[in-house]
Amino acid sequence: MRRGMTRTRSGVRAPSPRGFVTIGRAVAVPAARASVVVAVVTVALLVAAAVATLSLGRLGLSLADLAGALTRGAEGKQAFVLERLRGPRLVVAVGVGAALGLSGALFQTVTRNPLGSPDVIGLGAGAGAGAAAVALLLPGALPASAGALAGGAAAMVLVHASTGTGFRDPGRLIVAGIGVHAIATAFTQYVVYAVERDKATVLTAYVNGSLAARSWEHAATIWIVLLAVVPLVALASRRLGVSELGDELAAGLGAEPRSTRAVAVTLSVVLSAGAVAVAGPVAFIALTAPQIARRLTGGPGPHLTLAALVGALLLTLADLAAQQSPIPGNLPVGVYTLAVGGLYLGYLLTREWRKGSL
C-alpha cells in the first residue's frame, strides 16, 4: 500500500487501470475483459443471424444479392423481401429483443432474483392487455403503445400492492405476479373475443406475441423507445451496481437505493411496454437474456449492455426459427420462446426452491 500511495502522491503516473476503458483523464468506464469478449461474440452471432434471416428460405436473397442490395439498393422481388417482408421484421426483432433483455436485467437487479422478471410477474401480460384494450375497444383513439404503457404500469402497481412487501420478497412477488399475469391474460382474451370473435391470429398477437407483418412504423416505435431509455439506464447503472449490496450498505455509500429502485422499475416498464406495443408480450426473453449474460461472464452484475445484446440475439434466432420452421400456418414467434423459455423457468423454479428462497 505504501508504495502505491507514494507513487501517486509524488506525481508519478499511475498505471492505466485494468478493466476500464479510458479517454484521457476525465473518462474511465468499467469494461471487464470477459464482458467485452462476450459482447463482441454476441454481436458477431447477431450479424450472422440477421444475414440468415434475410437469405434463408424460398424468398431469401442469396449472399451476393444481399451484398448488392445493401450497397446499391434493391429492385423488384428483392426490394419487396428486403424492404417490406423481412427487413422491418428483423429490425423490430432486434429492437424488441434488446428492449426485453434490458427490461429483464433492470427488474432482476432490483428484485435480486432471476424470477423477478417482467414476463414472470405479469408486466408483459399487463402491457398486452392494455394494448389490446386500446387497439380493439377504442380503435384510433390512442396509440397501442400508450395502452401498453398504462397496462404494464397498472400490472406492476397491482403486484406491488398485493405482495404487501413491495418487490422485496421473491416468493410473494412470484405468487402475486402469477395472479396478475392470469388476470391480464383473461382480460385480453375477453377483449379479443368480444371484438374479433373468431380471429386466432389477433388473439395470439396480444397473448403470445408475434413478429408477422411488421412495418417500418413498428421498427421506428421500438427504436425510439430504446434511444430514449438507454441513456437514462446508463445514468442509473452505477447506482444499480451498488444496490446489489443491499439497501443499507447502498444507502451508506450514498447510492439512494429507494429512488434507484423506482427509476429502474419505471424504465423497465417503459421498455417492456414499448416491446409489447410492437410485438406483443413475447415470453421469456426478459427472463433468460440477463441470466445467460450473467453466466457467460461469470462476474457480478448488472450486465445491462450484455442483457440487451443477448436479448436481441435470442429473439432474432427465435424469429428465424419461426419463419423457417416446417410447421404450417406460421406459428407466431411467441409460441417458440414460450416453449423453450418454459423449460428454463421450470429449471429456475426448481433451483430457487432447493435453495430455499421460495
Binding site: F20, A26, A28, L249, A251, G252, L253, A255
Partner: protein, 277 residues
Amino acid sequence: MEKGKPLSTQAVPRETGLGTRGVTISYGGAPVVRDVSLDIPDGELTMIIGPNGCGKSTLLKGLARVLRPDLGRVLLHGRDIWSYRGRDAARHVALLPQNPIAPEGVDVRGLVRRGRYPHHTLLRQWSPDDEAAIGFALERTGLDQLAGARASELSGGQRQRAWIAMVLAQQTDLLLLDEPTTFLDIAHQYDLLELCRELHRDGKTIVAVLHDLNQAARFASHLIVMKQGRAVAQGPPAEVLTPRLVEEVFGLACDVVPDPRTSTPMVVPHPRTPAAG
C-alpha cells in the same frame, strides 16, 4: 445513571464531528429512538450497548444517513447530514450494516472496490487513489493474499474482514459498524475487535453497536448505553459500567470486577438463587 451530568465525562464536542440533536426515529410507525442528543467524540472507539430493541442499531443507521429522523437533526460538521448529497456524506461516514449482500460472482478486490463508489462519477469510475485505497484496505485487514478469491469462498471471519476492508476503502474519518461480531465464533470476534482497536489507533473514529458488555468494556474508549430508545449514560467504560447501571438497564444483578488481564470493568452476573427464582 449519571443523571444530571450526562455529558460530563466527555470532552467538549468539536464542530467537526458527528452528533444528534433531539433525534427521534420511528420504525414501522413506533418511535424506536426517542429524543437523543449526543456527540460522537472524535478519535474515540465508541461502542453502543443496550438490551435488544433499545434502538441502538436504529440510532446507528440514523447517524449513517440511512434512516431519516422524524424529529431533530443529525449533524455532520455542524450541518444537517440530510443537507448533504448522499455521496458527499458517504465520503465522511461509512456504515457496515448487519447483513450486507455480496453480489454473485464478485471477488474480494471487486467487493472492496465498491467502497470507492462515493469517490467516483458516472464518467470517471476509476481514480488514481483507488489502487492505494484498496491496497491499504486489503493489507490492513490481512486479505492481500485473498484479493482474487471469490467472496462466496471465504470463511465467516474472512468475509467480515472483507466487508471491513470495503468500508475502509471508502476512506472516511468515521466508521460505523452494526454488530460486526454477531455471526462470528469467539476467536474471530476478538480478532475483529482487535482490528477495530488497531484502526482506532490509526486515527479512525469508530462507532460500533455491540451485544457483549465485557467485550465493549474491554475495547471501547467511550460507551453509550441505551434503554428504550434513549441514551441513558455515556463516558469511559470504567465510569459508566457499574452494577447499578447494569441492573437498571439490563435487569441483571451483577458484580463489576476488574478484568484480570486488562483491568477494564468486567460484568459477573449473580447466580440466581432458588429462593429468588
